[in-house]
């Protein structure tokens, strides 16, 4: 099972240029809203036509601008799960499921059996005569998936299936979807702007930024070792500084005005570093001298979050003109309160970060 996509599409504001290859399992496409990830899915399904390029699934060419091939969506046999599930509102659950069988199954008896089996599998018994508006969000998703599976798709395309739901329902549906995906033998593409969803649902991920895709990598790698600044932002990193090499094992963080120890790899085009908020630790002033990568910051603001405290800092050494040079430190509320009491924190804070937690990155904002 292999999907190959290499397309260009003019989206008015920018040009979508995606190139990636998806194998078995669930491949995520992670990107901010409006980066072109849904358009990519629609091009694969044949609902939208790319300006140029090639799309191929297991040897079947869906689209090839040079050979003038553009297979109809009806002939591609992809299962597309829309954000609003797109159940036909004028039909009952049963009729919705029957519609999916219409192109393949002419035998009415066999069709009825197939629907019964699928309804049992998706826990839809007793709902056959209901209209989609009468169903809960979870039931609608199950009907939509049952309908897709009945049409025997070769690949699943999931377009932000949870983005319109509240947190609790989202969690429930995600678990359901994950277990259903395990049964699906083909591969699936899962589009989302949520790094947590991608992390939980997908095996591999392709990061998209402003219509440009980066190579598909294992999900773990994205969160542990992103290479580009865009990937680091998407993986949840919030502290960045422009940076340059400053001798062996040392990096100068321009926005922060400090030289840091760093022993890891330096990517091509290296121009900035990123550090996750929870990898930055406050330290006592007396201890700071003996620790690597410790420096003093002014406290700009302290924000109480639900379970944690966020301190917005500005390194003392930061030049006034350089970037905004802010650092965000996040820690559990109790730890912060205890630290403040012990160290008598007023408007200054010494912080420290391990060299292994610094990510060397390339790419602009």
């Amino acid at each position: 099972m292999s999907l190959y996509v290499d397309i260009k599409k003019d989206l008015g504001g920018f040009v979508l240029e995606t190139k990636f290859q998806a194998k078995e399992g669930v491949t995520g496409i992670l990107g901010a809203s409006g980066c072109g990830k849904s358009v990519t899915l629609r091009c694969i399904a044949g609902i939208l036509k790319p300006n140029e390029g090639r799309i191929e699934l297991d040897g079947t060419v869906f689209f090839d601008s040079r050979k003038k091939i553009n297979l109809k969506p009806q002939k591609r046999r992809v299962g597309f799960l829309f954000q609003n599930y797109a159940l036909f509102p004028n039909m009952t659950v049963r009729q919705n499921l029957l519609a999916a069988l219409k192109p393949y199954e002419k035998d009415k008896k066999k069709a009825a059996q197939a629907i019964e089996a699928m309804a049992a599998k998706f826990c839809l018994e007793g709902l056959e005569k209901h209209k989609p508006q009468q169903l809960s969000g979870g039931q609608q998703q199950r009907v939509a998936l049952a309908r897709i599976f009945l049409s025997k798709p070769r690949i699943l395309l999931l377009d932000e299936p949870f983005s319109a739901l509240d947190d609790f329902l989202k969690w429930k549906l995600e678990l359901e979807l994950a277990s259903l995906l395990e049964e699906f033998s083909g591969s699936a593409l899962f589009v989302s702007h949520s790094r947590e969803e991608i992390y939980r649902v997908c095996d591999r991920v392709c990061v998209m930024d402003q219509g440009k895709s980066s190579p598909v990598i294992p999900v773990k790698e994205l969160f542990e070792a992103p290479r580009s600044r865009a990937a680091a932002v998407l993986s949840g990193c919030k502290n960045f500084s422009g940076a340059r090499l400053a001798g062996e094992g040392r990096i100068y963080a321009e926005d922060w005005g400090v030289t840091l120890r760093y022993a890891g790899e330096i990517p091509e085009g290296f121009n900035c570093i990123g550090v996750r908020s929870h990898y930055i630790h406050p330290v006592a002033k007396e201890e700071a001298a003996g620790r690597e990568n410790a420096f003093c910051c002014g406290i700009l603001r302290v924000v109480e979050d639900v379970f944690s405290t966020v301190a917005i800092l500005r390194p003392k050494g930061a030049a006034p003109a350089a970037g905004d040079g802010r650092i965000r430190v996040e820690m559990p509320k109790e730890s912060w309160q205890e630290f403040c009491r012990r160290e008598n924190v007023t408007d200054e804070l010494w912080i420290q970060m391990d060299g292994k937690d610094i990510m060397a990155l390339y790419g602009g904002e």
Partner: protein
């Protein structure tokens, strides 16, 4: 004793023309929405013009086209020995052209509010475009399309200007309710004119009440569906 010919003539003109307009308007609304923006703009203006032009101007255009010495009219006269003007069915042309924009625009509005992802999901499920149109798009747009059809019928029934130019007024042959009212008033037969006015108001009111009932039922069924 009242001569009911104008009533039946008006009714058959309105019925036939609104059936033509009903299907023509749906097809036009569906296909024009898919055209290139420039072509779409031009056709949109051309098809909506009869709504804002004085009916006499529409009548003028129709005479220029359908008159016995004009291109279309002459062709029909020669090949089918059919006169297209000054007959009872001439009123159909006038009513259809004048009522068309109402159907076209309401159908277009209904199609525009249709959730296209429904059509897309139909396509990815392998359903033919014809199936999607008749079994998914049309039922979803039913209310707007029916409302357009009834409005078109009401407008066709009330057509006067273009009809009087292209069909004239011949009692028992081309007379409609609207042309009869004018003729009776012109010949000082106020009492009879009033009776035809009453007939006309009654029919139009009945049609509008039907539209309202239709909408109410639609809303009620949607509410009960939403409650479950």
């Amino acid at each position: 004793m009242m001569d009911w010919y104008p009533f039946f003539n008006s009714l058959r003109i309105a019925l036939i023309s609104s059936v033509i307009v009903f299907f023509g308007g749906i097809l036009a609304a569906y296909y024009i929405a898919r055209l290139h923006p420039v072509l779409k703009g031009i056709l949109d203006v051309a098809l909506t013009l009869p709504l804002v032009l004085p009916p006499t101007v529409v009548g003028y255009f129709l005479l220029m086209l359908l008159g016995p010495k004009r291109p279309v009219g002459a062709w029909f006269l020669e090949n089918f020995h059919m006169r297209l003007v000054m007959t009872w069915y001439s009123g159909i042309f006038a009513a259809a052209v004048v009522a068309f924009p109402l159907m076209y625009r309401t159908a277009r509005g209904a199609f525009e509010s249709f959730d296209e992802t429904l059509a897309f999901s139909g396509q990815t499920l392998g359903l033919s475009n014809a199936y999607i149109f008749w079994r998914i798009r049309m039922p979803a747009c039913r209310q707007g399309i029916l409302a357009g059809g009834v409005l078109a019928f009401a407008r066709a029934l009330g057509e006067y200007g273009a009809t009087s130019m292209i069909a004239g007024y011949t009692p028992g042959r081309t007379a409609t309710i609207s042309t009869t009212v004018y003729q009776l008033w012109r010949t000082d037969n106020d009492a009879l004119a009033f009776r035809w006015v009453a007939v006309n108001v009654a029919i139009s009111a009945a049609v509008l009440i039907a539209v309202n009932l239709l909408e109410k039922r639609e809303r009620a069924s949607r509410r009960s569906a939403g409650r479950g």
